[in-house]
Symmetry: C2
Subunit: 214 residues, 2 copies
DNA sequence: CTCCTTCCCTAACAAGTGTTTGGTAGGTTA
DNA sequence: TAACCTACCAAACACTTGTTAGGGAAGGAG
């Protein structure tokens, strides 16, 4: 999906190669709490001291595990997108019909919201501004791939006569995309509806409408 | 709608009563540019120096017109909400049927997005965190009123048999509310679709669905 | 002319920001 | 025991933040 600096072997020109080796498990723990704070307060409003507070340590100690505040955000978003695309690619490779593909993508999306609520919330709030930054270029790449997948499926559905042809298809795309992801603003895991149940009702509204058929 | 400190006559306990009188027109100009920067960068990521840059002046000069950065945000949001509710109340007082009320509310909403794009974008991003702050309590009030208006209309529609009864009505409410307002993330005034045209297509999707009727 | 108001600038302030450096307690290894 | 590694603390750093105080240019009013 993307290249992360430092992932490949020891590069002599690497600026910072820590002479210590923090455990990946602890990193994950800290990233989870950081993601919660980011999601609740917003990235810019979150200070490293707030993250450290939530983790029960001091601000400077975070830099034993991470290069910077930005690299925490980076890792949170990249991890989420990797998992998201693993799910999406599976769906897209299944060779389903247009309607079934849309249904599977929507359901998969709600599962991702359930799994990565904090990361999705951060993505929703910050992606647009971050995508302009070179470091977060993979966000723009993801959006492009996202649009291709959804728009392509919709076009296929129109061609097959299962989706309405009288609608602006880009409008439809943004409509479905947005309706799915904004759910993160109110969805709470462990609520009265499972992700699958929410997906079912969302799909019913999007596909069939909320009005009674006359 | 709300009480703003300093709106009522000269209160002796008022903390800051400027001995100067900046012109309201200039305030509006500055608030418009401030709103653009807030919307583009996010409130917390926006420094007063960036606003001053965009306005062609220095940071300190802003304080001739405004008490604080926060009061700029306050005035931007309050002005927007006042106008929004003027439109909504007109619709709600018109005595329309449920479906027509929803249609009118959605259309009115897109007009507000067209008129107050920046303010709506700020509202979308920051309202949830701001509403907890006492100063921005009117945001929570507005959300309550908002929910009553929309949810009440939907319930009336279900009772009248014009809206489906097999859907979770709160889910439907959030669905419609979100689909309308997230449009601000991509909508640009002067684009190829007028607010009314977008409203028409949105309503067609929400009410009748995107699937072809069989 | 002088006075006054409007509007902005210059220059600084204290608080808070992300980050670095050196140190150290506790456990593991030799 | 000695050497070492992990994970953190304590204290500071350079910088940015919102905000303030005093001053001054421009223009209209008397």
């Amino acid at each position: 999906m993307r290249e992360r600096p430092g992932d490949n072997g020891t590069v002599p020109t690497a600026k910072k190669k820590p002479n210590v080796s923090p455990s990946p498990e602890r990193r994950r723990e800290l990233l989870d709490t950081a993601a919660e704070v980011f999601a609740a307060q917003g990235y810019n409003a979150t200070t490293v001291r707030k993250i450290a507070d939530a983790a029960g340590m001091l601000a400077g100690s975070l830099y034993y595990h991470f290069d910077s505040k930005e690299s925490m955000l980076d890792e949170i978003l990249a991890t989420f997108l990797d998992e998201l695309w693993a799910g999406y690619d599976t769906v897209l490779a299944a060779g389903l019909g247009p309607r079934e593909t849309i249904e599977a993508l929507v359901t998969e999306s709600f599962r991702e919201i359930d799994r990565h609520r904090a990361a999705v919330a951060i993505y929703q709030k910050e992606a647009r501004t971050l995508a302009t930054q070179p470091r977060f270029g993979y966000l723009a790449d993801s959006q492009t791939k996202f649009e291709q997948a959804w728009l392509g499926t919709l076009e296929r559905g129109v061609a097959d006569g299962v989706f309405r042809a009288d609608l602006d298809i880009r409008l439809t795309y943004r409509f479905i995309r947005d309706t799915v992801w904004v759910a993160v603003s109110w969805y709470r895991p462990g609520g009265q509806h499972s992700p699958e149940e929410i997906a079912r009702q969302y799909l019913s509204m999007v596909l069939d409408g909320v009005a009674v058929r006359t």
